[in-house]
């Protein structure tokens, strides 16, 4: 399978890339890791007239901590996130999620920025970023703009990125002590999209009372979903079996999965409930360790 013909640019600065995006508008697509876009182009689901390859732009591959915020450059590869000591220290969820994304070769190419900018509710990082309360930095002709993750996903392959903007960085607040996180997705085979996936970050105080909770759901809704009622059900409570069951029930009710080859709607709702319970337990056990 061969993509339809296209023009190709490989700018070496962000300014140049933004200029090209402004000039060519919807005709152009950003090429990052390419492991969502190129398969779509080969299948002719996508036929952009121009690719703007941003891989040669310096300064988009950092993972750093600054003033209580972890900053992840848009071109950080999945494999780099998988092995980052800084991410491991604050967010054990990254080891969970990167291990479950595609396979080692794809993780050598795929980027965190691309995983979000693709705007696919089947991708895994959207739910993780919802759980972690991330902010997406978009850089455009007028400079940088911070977009809270809850305002980033609009619809099927649609995000808040505007004409001429490139996703350049992901910022995640360093959580307080007593916080941990976990992710799991049910998949039919290695590298599959999730039948259902759940990301959880929890903060517990010294008495075991939950003071903060973030829960994101993968591939069970038209857009990546924050399980807001589930989060509210945990806050101010100790994590008893009943509390956890209530949070799981809300998530299974509030998502909107479609029946497909991966399972029926009913099955997926059940799996959301199971995974919410398990990830709350896993994240809270990591806090106690």
């Amino acid at each position: 399978m061969i993509p339809a013909p296209f023009e190709y640019d490989a700018p070496t600065t962000l300014e140049e890339a933004i200029g090209l995006l402004q000039k060519y508008g919807d005709e152009a697509k950003i090429l990052s890791g390419g492991h969502s876009l190129i398969p779509m182009m080969k299948l002719r689901f996508a036929s952009p007239e121009r690719l703007i390859d941003i891989n040669g732009i310096a300064g988009l591959s950092h993972i750093s901590e600054e003033n209580g915020t972890v900053k992840i450059g848009a071109l950080v590869r999945e494999v780099e996130a998988e092995h980052s000591d800084l991410l491991k220290k604050h967010f054990p969820i990254f080891e969970d999620v990167t291990h479950l994304i595609a396979d080692p070769q794809v993780r050598n190419m795929g980027t965190l920025g691309g995983n979000l900018a693709h705007g696919d509710a089947a991708n895994d990082h959207p739910a993780v970023m919802i759980a972690l309360g991330a902010t997406v930095i978009a850089t455009g002709p007028d400079g940088e703009r911070a977009i809270p993750i809850d305002e980033f996903f609009y619809g099927f392959y649609m995000t808040a990125l505007q004409h001429g903007e490139i996703l350049t960085e992901i910022q995640i607040p360093v959580p307080p002590a007593g916080t941990s996180s976990a992710y799991h997705k049910l998949e039919r085979k290695v590298g599959d999209y999730a039948t259902a996936g759940v990301a959880v970050q929890l903060t517990l105080d010294a008495n075991g009372v939950c003071t903060a909770a973030g829960i994101g759901l993968t591939n069970v809704n038209p857009v990546p979903l924050r399980a807001a009622r589930s989060e509210a059900a945990l806050i101010g409570k100790t994590l008893t079996t009943e509390t956890i069951a209530e949070a799981a029930k809300y998530a299974s009710e509030d998502c909107s999965p479609s029946s497909d080859l991966r399972g029926s709607e009913e099955y997926k709702r059940d799996m959301v409930a199971v995974l919410v319970k398990r990830m709350i337990k896993k994240a809270s056990e990591r806090i106690l360790i």
């Binding site: 296209f6 494999v79 291990h99 190419m109």
Partner: protein, 166 residues
């Protein structure tokens, strides 16, 4: 069309290519290096795995223009002519292939795996080749072949290559 320079197995090639030319077609059809196979053509099977600047990637899902200025290693570049790389020896000694279609991709993936982790556990090997499909062997002999290559690279005593009868 774009002029690109790609170093393949140590030799630089400067050529005009169509933007949409896939790296695997560049390797197989432009350079006639047919050791890299096309299996699924959808980045699932790993038969087209090559090393791009030392990282294993699926060349069916990379454009040739993306490899401009970079170094590629294919299975033809694993060992000098007339000799075998420890992985090739491992696959031979352990019957790590039946039809052989997945073998080049398996070996290129395993070469990066052993580069990063010269002494992987069986679990690490199985996860490490999770992006490569084999429809003949049941994987056991592939895992043994990679263990054999690891031991050889580490300079340790080689594991038995006697087949196991269950």
């Amino acid at each position: 069309m774009k002029e690109i320079t790609i170093t393949v197995n140590g030799t630089a090639h400067t050529l005009q290519v169509e933007n949409r030319l896939l790296l695997v077609h560049f390797i197989r059809e432009v350079l006639n290096l047919t050791g890299t196979h096309i299996g699924c053509d959808t980045s699932s099977c790993g038969a087209c795995t090559i090393l791009l600047n030392g990282k294993s990637v699926k060349s069916c899902t990379v454009l040739a223009v993306q490899a401009n200025g970079k170094e590629i290693q294919t299975v033809e570049g694993l060992a000098p002519e007339g000799s075998l790389h420890p992985l090739q020896e491992g696959f031979k000694e352990n019957h790590g292939l039946h039809c052989g279609f997945c073998t080049p991709g398996m070996m290129m993936r395993a070469s990066e795996l052993l580069q990063n982790n010269p002494n992987p556990t069986e679990d690490e090997i199985r996860w490490g080749i999770s992006g490569n499909l084999c429809r003949c062997t049941g994987y056991n002999n592939i895992v043994k072949a990679i263990q054999y290559a690891g031991a050889k690279i580490r300079g340790e005593e080689l594991p038995s290559t006697e087949p196991e009868f269950v």
